[in-house]
Every structure is written in C-alpha cells, then in structure tokens.
C-alpha cells in the first residue's frame, strides 16, 4: 500500500502545482488584459473613489455634484433631466456620456498638476479631488428654452456668435441622469430615442432655413442683389420637377429681399439652378456641412449631396432645403452665427473654465475661428434680409419690442405627418450677442411654431 499512497500524494502535488500555475497565469500574466476587459467595471469603481469635480453653469448653478457613501462618491445631478443632452451621465454600469465623458480626465484630476497630486493621494490613501468645470451654459437661458419647447419633440441651440460659447442646448425627449442605471435599458429600447441629443446628433431636412446659406452664396457670387426682381407664377419647372410655394401661394413680381422674407421657393429654386450644384455644395461645405461639429461633445455631420450626383430637380429642391439635404439644429445655428459674426463661424465650446478645488483657474477656454464662409459685406447683406423676415415676413412672431431680431423660418416637409418647424435667428441685429436655432418635429410652420420659441430664448439671453 505504500507505493500507491506515495503515488496518490504525488498526484495531489501535481494537481496543486496546476493550481499554482493557473493562478499565476490569471493574477500576473493575464491580469493586464482582464483589467481592461470591457465587462470589467473595476476601473470605474476605482474612479468612484475619486472626488469627481463639480460642474457649474456660467451663472453659478451646480449641475453635477457628489454625495459621499462609504469610500465612494456618488454623482448627483440637481437640475435633473434638463441638462442631460450635454451633461450626460457617469454610471458604474453603463459608462459615461456628454461632458462627464469628454472631460473625464479633468473631472478625475488626471491632467496637469492634479495628475501629480493624484499620485500622491494614491500613496497616502487619500481621496483624490478632481477639477471643477464652469460651463458656458446659462441656466436662465437653458430653462427658458426648455420651457418654451415644452414636451414637443425637437431641439433648441443658443450660442454666442462672437465666441462660439454654447449658452443653451435643449433636446426633447430626454432622460433624468440620476436614474440612468435603472432606466438605461428602457431608454435604449425607446423608439423616440431619448438618449440622442437632437440638437447635435439629430439630422433633419432643413427646409427654408437653408436659404440663409443659398442667399449668402447668391449675394457673394453676385448672382443677385437684394434688389434683383423676380416674377412668381406659383410654380417653377426644374428638370421635370414642379416647384411649388409653401401653402400653394403665388407672389407675382417681387425683389430678392422679399423672396427671402416671404420664403418664396420658386425664386430660390431659380437662383439655385442659376448658381449650380457645385457652387451650392461648396458654400454648404464652407458653412460646415459634411463636418462634425468642432467641439468636444461630437455630433452628426450635416449632409449636402455631392454635386456630381445632382440633376436639375435635385438642385432646385436643395436650394430651399428639401430633397436630400439634412442638417442638425446645431449646424443651422452655426450658419446663422456666420451671418451674425461678420461672416466668421467660431468653434462652439461648452466648458469655459477648468478650476481646482480652491476655484483657482487652471485653464480658460480660448475662442477659436472655425470657418469663414462669407465676407463681412455679404454677411451684412444677409443680415438685412433676415431683419426683414422678422419685420414683415414669415418670422414676425420672433420680434421683441426694443430689440431688432433677425431670423429665418423653415417649414420642412416630410414624408408623413406635419412638417418640421424651424427658426434660426440672432439679436440684436446690429451687434448680435445670441444666435438661436429651433427645431420642432412634425409641428407645423416655422413662423407659427418655432419663431415664438426663439423669441423667448433670445429674450432670456438678452436679459429681457
């Protein structure tokens, strides 16, 4: 019996050596890849021990704060759902979105000098404090925009055309970031897609707000002047496609200024065909079409078809923003910003300052130029056209007493349901401080639905 016993013990020794080998493999050899495995939430758990930086709005409202629970800091969003389209969330289970994601390194203190103190905190086993963020968002404007849009599907963007600072960005439907862990699956399954920020990610036919770009192209190319006269018979035949005006209206003799103010499709189709597909495409690109929004939160690139693929009918439709043209509300706001800012589009940004725990400024946002689609003269000419829209055109509902508002309405027809209502504008016209773009899905005409929303947002932004 001794030999079998010795062999049995040898067998056990082999089994336990196998354990030692496998354990070393898992804990040492395979550990790096296991630690970065996408199913592994431990990295986020580590970050939950960090006192994540507070996020404030420009007017000092706390938007993201922490409550301490054991060794962990739990994220709380006091403003609830209204901030979710850009603030995003910080979830143990589902990762991050929005500012929480884009500025994670600042918020967790991995950048600059905070990175060094972070290392020290780790050694001393202290909770590490991340950097605070002061956003460009003005909660007064944000709240005004959200309440003006109400619970209609759509988006509102407000920014400062001089700097690109985003003042407000509203998207509906949206979600409460405080509830993200419990509702995430339902949000993903929701056909209304509340996780999508419609302002920067939603692509819609722009309809007549696209005429801002077409007018800019026509004036800059000297194809027309504001006084050029046109004659409308109610229809215009372009390559076998008959262009109608919205509502079947006929306008007779008019100037280009009136064509813009009344949003006459036949005239813009004529001008578009005269300019040609490649000129339209090149101006669309100069205004930002085909490019993702140049900011940290990303978004969809607006779409203008390639000129080679367009026949005359396509060109005519594109000239009043129908057909294949698709745009985000943010792109429309940036196009209007070009007009408001003397032809130059500034890069949008949402974080104004990065601060340490003692509110010492670590980093200041520097406004940067993005595109320059128009000359200052052309921009001024388009601005005058837009003033007329609000004075005595389709956008009178955007008018504010004592302030000259400039704007353009859009009523984008869609395959099913009511048209999308658009408005893009800025104020004060002679020295613009705020640009606003409004989109309401399947809601009616831009003049009746979108323009009043824009008025409230502009009023809030100008402190009226």
């Amino acid at each position: 019996m001794e030999r079998p016993l010795r062999r049995l013990f040898l067998f056990f020794t082999l089994l336990f050596v196998a354990l030692l080998v496998m354990l070393t493999y898992v804990q040492v050899w395979a550990a790096p890849s296991l630690k970065t495995n996408p199913s592994n939430t431990r990295a986020i758990e580590e970050e939950m021990k960090i006192d994540r930086g507070t996020i404030f709005s420009a007017d000092g409202v706390a938007l993201a704060v922490n409550t301490k629970s054991g060794p962990y800091f739990l994220r709380r969003y006091p403003e609830g759902d209204i901030t979710s389209p850009w603030l995003g969330y910080n979830s143990l289970q589902y990762g991050r979105a929005g500012v929480e994601r884009a500025y994670n390194e600042d918020l967790t203190g991995q950048t600059g000098l905070l990175g060094v103190t972070n290392y020290l905190d780790t050694i001393l086993n202290r909770a590490h404090r991340g950097a605070d963020l002061k956003l460009t968002i003005n909660m007064a404007v944000q709240r005004a925009a959200a309440s003006a849009l109400g619970d209609r599907k759509g988006a509102v963007v407000a920014l400062d055309p001089r700097t690109g600072a985003v003042l407000a960005m509203v998207s509906f439907p949206r979600y409460d970031p405080n509830q993200i862990d419990t509702v995430w699956k339902a949000l993903n399954a929701d056909p209304d897609r509340p996780l999508v920020n419609r302002a920067s990610q939603g692509l819609y036919p722009p309809g007549s707000v696209f005429k801002i770009i077409v007018a800019g192209a026509a004036l800059q190319n000297r194809a027309v002047t504001p006084q050029t006269s046109f004659d409308d018979t109610g229809t215009y035949l372009a390559g076998g496609y008959i262009v109608h005006n919205y509502g079947g209206n006929t306008y007779g003799k008019h100037t280009f200024t009136q064509a813009f103010a009344k949003s006459i499709n036949t005239t813009f189709a004529k001008v578009g065909v005269q300019l040609g597909a490649s000129t339209l495409a090149s101006f669309a690109s100069d205004f930002g079409f085909g490019k993702s929004p140049p900011w940290t939160l990303g978004g969809s690139a607006s779409f203008f078809p390639s000129p080679g693929s367009m026949d005359k009918a396509h060109v005519a439709q594109a000239a009043f923003g129908q057909g294949q043209v698709l745009s985000t509300p943010m792109e429309i706001a940036l196009a209007a910003a070009a007009v408001a800012n003397g032809g130059t589009i500034m890069k949008p940004y949402i974080v104004g300052q990065v601060l340490d725990a003692n509110q010492k400024v670590l980093e200041n946002a520097k406004p940067q130029m993005w595109l320059q689609p128009l000359t200052a003269d052309t921009a001024a000419a388009v601005r005058d056209l837009m003033v007329q829209v609000v004075k005595n055109g389709t956008g009178t509902s955007a008018a504010i007493s004592g302030v000259q508002v400039a704007g353009k309405t859009g009523t984008a027809e869609v395959a099913t349901g009511q048209p999308h209502a658009w408005f893009a504008g800025f104020a004060p016209a002679d020295n613009p401080r705020v640009v606003v773009a409004v989109l309401v899905e399947n809601a009616g005409t831009g003049g009746t639905v979108a323009a009043p929303i824009a008025r409230q947002v502009i009023a809030a932004a100008l402190g009226q």
Binding site: L5, L23, Q27, S39
Partner: protein
C-alpha cells in the same frame, strides 16, 4: 522518530498556533480600521476569541491524542482564521455566525476525540455507518430545498444544514472498512479476462451498489461537486487498497463515459461546461460569476489590494460575485491578499494533505490507513475542485473551500474529519512509542502489511 516525543510535539503545535492568533488579531484590526477608520478594542475581540478557541482545541488534543500530528491543527487554525477574516470583511453578521459554527465545530472535534478512542470501533459499526450515510443522502433528496439549482439544504428548526457534508465522512468510513474486508480478494484474484485479473463480482457488488446509489442521489440533487468528490475518493481508496492501476483505469473510463452522458442529459451540467469553456460568450449573465472571479483575481495581482481594499461588496450590500463568502471565497482572498496570499492558502492545503497521507502511510492497520487516505482525499480533492473552479482551471462545481468558506455544515464536518485524522496519527505514534520503549520497533515494522506489493 519525529513524533516520538509527545511533549515536544505538543509544544511545537502550540508554537505553530501563534501565527494563526497573530493573523486574526492583526487582520481584524486592519479590516476594522478599514471599515470605521478607528481602532477599538472590539476589533481585537476576534483575536482573543480565537486564542481561547484554539487554546481549548490544543488542550483537548494534548490530553486526548497526545501523539497526534502537530501540524494539522495549526494549519486548520490558519485556514479558518483566514476564512473568518475574509468573511468578516465581506459581511460582519456572517462572520459572527461563522464564529459560532467554529465553536460548534470545536465541540464536535472534542466529542469525536472523546468518543472515538479507537478507530476499530468505527470499523465494527461499518454497516450502520454506511446506512446512516445513505439515509442522510436519501433524506436530503426527499426533504431538501433547492438553493441555487442544487438540492443540498435541509432545514432543522431554525438551522439549515447540508447532510452531504456529513454523509461523505460516514461513507468514507464505510468504504475504508469494507475495502479492508475485501482487499485481499480484490488483489489476489485468479480469474482473468483478456489477460486482466478480474475479482469475483460479489465482493465488488456492495461497493458498486452503494456507489451507484450515492451517485444517483447526487445527480438527482444536482450536487456535481460532491458527486465528483465521492467518485475521486472511491477511486483513490480502491487504488491504495489494491495497488492496481487497472481499477483506476476502469474508473477513469467510467468517469469519461459518465461525464459525456451527463453532459448530454442534464442541462445544468451542459451549462457548467460551456461556461467553463467560454465564459466570455455571455459575461453579463451565464458567465458572470466566473468572469467576475477572474476580474477579482486579476485585480489582486501579485501582492493584492490589501484587506478591506478590494471591490467585493457593492453599494447595495450585495457581493459583486454571487456566493462570494462560500464557493468564491478564494477569489476574495486572491483579490485582497494577491497571488502571495492565495499561494499561501494552496500551500497550507498541500501541507494538510501531506500530513494526512503521512498519517496514512504510517498507520499500522489497513482500516486506519484506508480511512486516513479516504478522509485526506476528500479534503484535498474538495479544496482542489473549488480553487480550480474559481480560477477556471476546471469547470465550476459549487462546493465549499474546507475551513475557509462560510457554512456551518462544512465547518463542523471538517472538524470531525480533522479529529479522525488526528486519532489515526495518534494511534500510530502511540504504538511506535510503546514499541520503541520496549525496543521492539524492528519487529513491529517487519510484521506489517502481509500483502504489501502484490499488485504494485
């Protein structure tokens, strides 16, 4: 003779118990400061309780089995100390329960030592013990409650217990006694089929019968771990009793055929194997437990994250790995104490197994030898199965890590097992000591094992 002088042996054991007491005291203080960032006398209480418990165990051993192996009790103390420490870190209430079970376990330990003065007594009652073991299993199969897919639990008033934990010891006693009876017949068989010696079936029948019955019950209760344990232990016992690898080969063929059949028939076996082969196919559901276990081990790395520093308990109070305090306690140790701590655990088990087999090797009669072999095998195999399971070396079977995992039945049963092993090693050394005193050691050795080497 290393075990020759009982006094030095006993003092050596006392010396080896010191690390366990130190570990408890320092460990609990560490976890306590981790939890409440202040050290109070309360945190040192566990160390004091442990000191008292194992001092009593040591005294009991000193008087009841003075010649017993001096390493088994300290190894047990270290394992149960580490266990309760990690359980305390996971859930304070469970640690308190575990401490109470340790007390019960030590009482059972002393009772076994008091009442089982001579192992022959167990041999005499072998059929009664075998029937008791089977009855415990039948009882569980009939009245058991299914928890986590396995029917293991029986409620006795307010206390739930797992009869299989005790059944396995009772059946080991029976196997050892019965194999002692038929050992010679199995070894010196004359009939040959295809050149292979085949023993008379009637000697094998009761053994096979009881084995088939217990296996059937295990499969019926879906307790794969215990089922595997029985199989392995029986195989090891037959091999040691007969010295014939032929039986092991037959057993392995049976095992492979049986596994293939189980894999095909039972979805829970199928699932276990599939999850083992590729847990990454469904890391959020079916593979969750094993994937999280691997994450925990990886997070521990070489030196661990430190006691109380691991990511074991979620904010809602649940453990990140389900069954962390029972089946997956080794993963918790791997995370907080690292490879270094986990290897220490593995080596402690290896020491226990070595001392168990040493007691078997030195035993003077076949029954003691087979009993020590059987008990050591189920102990070692159980440790291997669950540690190998949580590190994905082998498919996961839900069994406890002896002395470390949370669980009253497991603790109490393993203390009974320890008592029997100590009794075996004590009777060996006692006989040797008296033989030595009479200067008869040579003769005593020479008369040992008349059938030695027949099959080997």
């Amino acid at each position: 003779m290393s075990n020759g002088n009982p006094a030095s042996t006993r003092n050596r054991e006392l010396l080896f118990l010191i690390p366990a007491v130190l570990l408890t005291t320092v460990g609990f203080a560490l976890v306590y400061t981790q939890k409440s960032s202040a050290l109070t006398w309360y945190s040192l209480l566990y160390g004091v309780i442990f000191l008292a418990l194992f001092a009593i165990a040591h005294l009991g051993r000193r008087f009841l089995v003075p010649y017993a192996d001096p390493y088994l009790l300290p190894v047990t103390a270290l394992l149960s100390t580490l266990g309760i420490l990690v359980i305390y870190r996971i859930n304070e209430r469970l640690a308190l329960e575990q401490a109470l079970w340790l007390v019960v376990g030590l009482v059972v330990f002393l009772l076994v030592l008091v009442f089982v003065r001579d192992l022959k007594m167990l041999r005499d009652y072998r059929f009664l013990i075998g029937i008791a073991g089977i009855l415990l299993l039948v009882f569980t199969a009939v009245f058991g409650r299914e928890i986590n897919g396995a029917k293991l639990w029986v409620r006795l008033g307010p206390v739930g217990f797992q009869p299989a934990e005790f059944a396995k010891i009772l059946l080991m006693i029976f196997f050892a006694a019965y194999l002692e009876d038929v050992r010679e017949v199995l070894t010196v068989s004359t009939r040959r089929i295809l050149g292979v010696p085949v023993p008379p079936l009637r000697y094998l029948a009761p053994l096979l019968g009881i084995w088939v019955l217990s296996m059937a019950l295990m499969i019926f209760m879906k307790d794969l771990g215990t089922s595997l344990l029985f199989f392995g232990a029986l195989l090891a016992l037959i091999y040691v009793a007969t010295g014939r690898f032929f039986y092991v080969a037959v057993g392995l063929v049976l095992f492979i055929a049986g596994s293939a059949l189980l894999y095909k028939i039972f979805p829970h076996v199928h699932l276990r194997v599939d999850v083992w082969l590729n847990p990454w196919k469904d890391p959020a559901n079916k593979g969750y437990q094993i994937v999280q276990s691997l994450f925990a081990l990886a997070a521990g790395g070489l030196f661990g994250r430190g006691l109380g520093q691991g990511y074991l308990v979620l904010q809602n109070g649940h453990t990140i790995i389900p069954a962390l305090e029972t089946d997956f306690i080794f993963s918790a140790i791997g995370e907080e104490l690292g490879l270094v701590g986990a290897v220490a655990i593995i080596l402690l088990y290896l020491i226990f197994i070595f001392r168990g087999f040493r007691a078997a090797l030195r035993a003077r009669d076949d029954f003691s030898r087979l009993l020590a072999t059987g008990l050591t095998t189920i102990f070692g195999l159980q440790a291997f199965l669950i540690m190998g399971g949580v590190m994905k070396l082998i498919p996961l079977t839900g069994i406890t890590l002896p002395f470390v995992s949370y669980g009253g039945s497991s603790i109490v049963a393993n203390f009974a097992l320890l008592a029997l092993l100590l009794r075996t090693s004590d009777s060996v050394a006692r006989q040797e000591a008296s033989a030595e005193a009479r200067g008869e050691e040579g003769r005593a050795r020479a008369t040992l094992m008349p059938v030695e080497g027949v099959g080997a």
